[in-house]
């Protein structure tokens, strides 16, 4: 059992938890993830870790409520417990002095980017961070990002903050101006795919952090297989980071849809239960 010791609501759908997990906190490295199971009937699902506090022995997760499990996770309060957490899982990000790194994140990927850029900056890189969101209200952790980047650039789809456009719009600009050594991207698949497609034209090495469907997360079931350079790789043990130019994006996009109907059903059913509980509480 893993205790939630702090909860923050970052937006209507994005929440942050600090969770007691001493051994994970001690051993996790940037880029690695954990697998959670909320209760006896829960599914196992992966989340990237956004930070650790070694003194307190805690890890921080920042997640967006999307399906049933993340929505249910969002209902937990300080002092509640998560039944199972295993980690750290996956290969850590390679941290060294590359020169100039452009790090991109979209949506909740922003939180997951933080440990990576923080380590890259410490390793002596010039880190240009580009984050994107639909609008200003969805932007996360601006202060922290600024602190751990050499330069922070922001794009919003509607232009309510920073540059109007997508992260790729900003990336195109940066590539023209700077001698970039490597690009790192984490976020929704369409965003990582767009970034990879753009950098391919410049022959600019691009690492992406993939989020396929997982079950055990420990190298056993093969659910998270992705084709990289036409070879099967397992995101849970070989990844989650791969060369974005070699990933079969179409296949990954398709595989992420495998349980769409089930996910919809589970979420609807869960929301019905939540509504019922709310009504009961009011009575």
């Amino acid at each position: 059992m893993f205790k939630i010791i702090k909860k923050e609501v970052l937006s209507s759908v994005i929440k942050s938890f600090e969770i007691e997990a001493k051994d994970i906190a001690k051993n996790i490295k940037p880029g690695q993830f954990i697998v959670l199971r909320l209760n006896e009937k829960g599914e196992r699902f992966p989340l990237t870790v956004a930070g650790t506090n070694l003194e307190k022995g805690t890890i921080k997760i920042i997640f967006q409520e999307a399906g049933k499990s993340t929505t249910q996770l969002g209902t937990l309060k300080e002092g509640d417990y998560i039944r199972d957490i295993v980690g750290p899982l996956g290969q850590p990000t390679e941290i060294k002095n590359f020169g100039t790194v452009v790090a991109l994140a979209g949506g909740v990927g922003t939180a997951e980017l933080l440990p990576v850029i923080s380590a890259l900056l410490k390793a002596g890189n010039k880190v240009i961070t580009i984050v994107g969101a639909r609008n200003k209200s969805l932007l996360l952790m601006q202060e922290e990002l600024k602190e751990h980047s050499s330069e922070l650039l922001v794009a919003t789809d509607d232009g309510s903050y920073g540059i109007k456009g997508f992260v790729t719009t900003v990336l195109a600009d940066v590539i023209k101006k700077e001698k970039v050594s490597i690009v790192y991207a984490i976020g929704p698949v369409p965003m990582m795919k767009a970034v990879s497609n753009m950098t391919k034209d410049y022959n600019l090495k691009t690492l992406v952090s993939l989020n396929p469907i997982m079950v055990d997360g420990t190298g056993m079931c093969g659910a998270c297989r992705v084709s990289v350079n036409k070879e099967i790789k397992f995101a849970c043990v070989d990844g989650p980071e791969f060369d974005g130019h070699l990933v079969d994006w179409e296949e990954l996009t398709n595989r992420l849809r495998a349980f769409k109907e089930n996910e919809k059903l589970a979420l609807e059913k869960y929301k019905d239960i939540l509504n019922m509980e709310c009504k009961c509480h009011k009575e």
């Binding site: 599914e43 079931c221 093969g222 297989r225 099967i232």
Partner: protein, 456 residues
Amino acid sequence: MSQRIKMVEREPNIRNKDFEEVNLGYTDEQALLEAKRCLHCKNPMCMTGCPVEVNIAEFIHYLANNDQAGAIKIIKDKSNLPAVCGRVCPQEKQCESKCILGIKQEPIAIGNLERYAADWASKNIKEEKYNIKPNGKKVAVVGSGPAGLTCAGDLAKLGYDVTIFESLHDSGGVLRYGIPEFRLPVAVLDKEVESLKNLGIKFIFNYLIGRTKTVEDLLEEGFEAIFVGTGAGLPTFPGVEGENLNNIYSANEFLVRINLMNAFQFPEYDTPVHKGKNVVVIGGGNTAMDSVRTAKRIGAETVKLVYRRTQNEMPARLEERKHALEEGIEFIELTAPTKFIADDKGFVKAVECVKMKLTEPDVSGRRKPIEIEGSNFIIETDLVVLALGLNPNPILPSLTKGLETDKKGHLIVDDKFMTTRKGIFAGGDIAGGSTVIQAMGMGKQAAKNIHKYLNN
């Protein structure tokens, strides 16, 4: 001489719709009759066929005298998982194949009797606290599958302070996530694990050695020896076009979803699984049999097993093959997949296959399957399960200094089951084993050698 007593099996058309056990076990009378068939050989050969060295002749002798308590005591002296072994061991290839009765008639039903004794004990004997004198030495066991549980049990009986580290959220390894309930009920496994806890073994779940903590950390914490039983890992894929389409699962994924995560009860349980109408399973081992029979039970109308050789070459136990056929599974022999075909949404809708023929036996006596050109045909399907074998789990070996692996990724062990690093032992799939009983045998031998190693 009397005939071997058959265990009563449930009707195929009833049992193939639920997860209750197929075999119902012996009644007291049946067990007594069967035990009395034993000739009580002076030099019983049966025992030479048991990887965990159960004193078979002795326990059957007790059963023949209607002393079930005496029988289980003899079994438990050597086997930490008797109710499991009685159900999943391939006795026909092991102990029973050595039985002298087998020359002229059918061998004594050792597996059935073992199961009977274990089930009798679980109903009638209150689990007693073992009186073990602790020797003050700590041993870590990594993985709670059959190898780990056996090794841990034997070490605990010798007085060691044993901690099992398990990466999943529950115990048993393949016994829980792999073998379906109709072959090994979860309640039976839970009971066996409970017995092991009574020996003082500690279980720590959600703990991936190599990542959550390293082998180095464990040694520093005072564990004087480590047994690695991390099992099989990544599934093998056939390498043909379309193998990553949706609704194509590895057998591990299919079985983990259903056995470990209760996906057949979605949405009550959160984990989903596609309940295929027309299912194709590819492979011929026990895992393939478990997959076809599971697919049938969660509601498939047709289930086809595609295998590139014939039934005679299938590695699956005869009993499993028989049960599968009785339950309405169609075997398509001498056939291999060449391509998986997608519908317009990226889900599998058909598999293209090719007929195979077997070559004349080579020097090793093995007949190789080769394609018959132009014999391609299509099977329509909405769920494919690939049961083509597994590679050893790479995590711990790759993250631990000094552990050498062979070409396939198995940990290299010596005749004492010690790895290439002193004080670290291994057994089960990770060290080249491939069945539950093999894993148990290796776990047992490793325990003996750990004991020797720590007392030299």
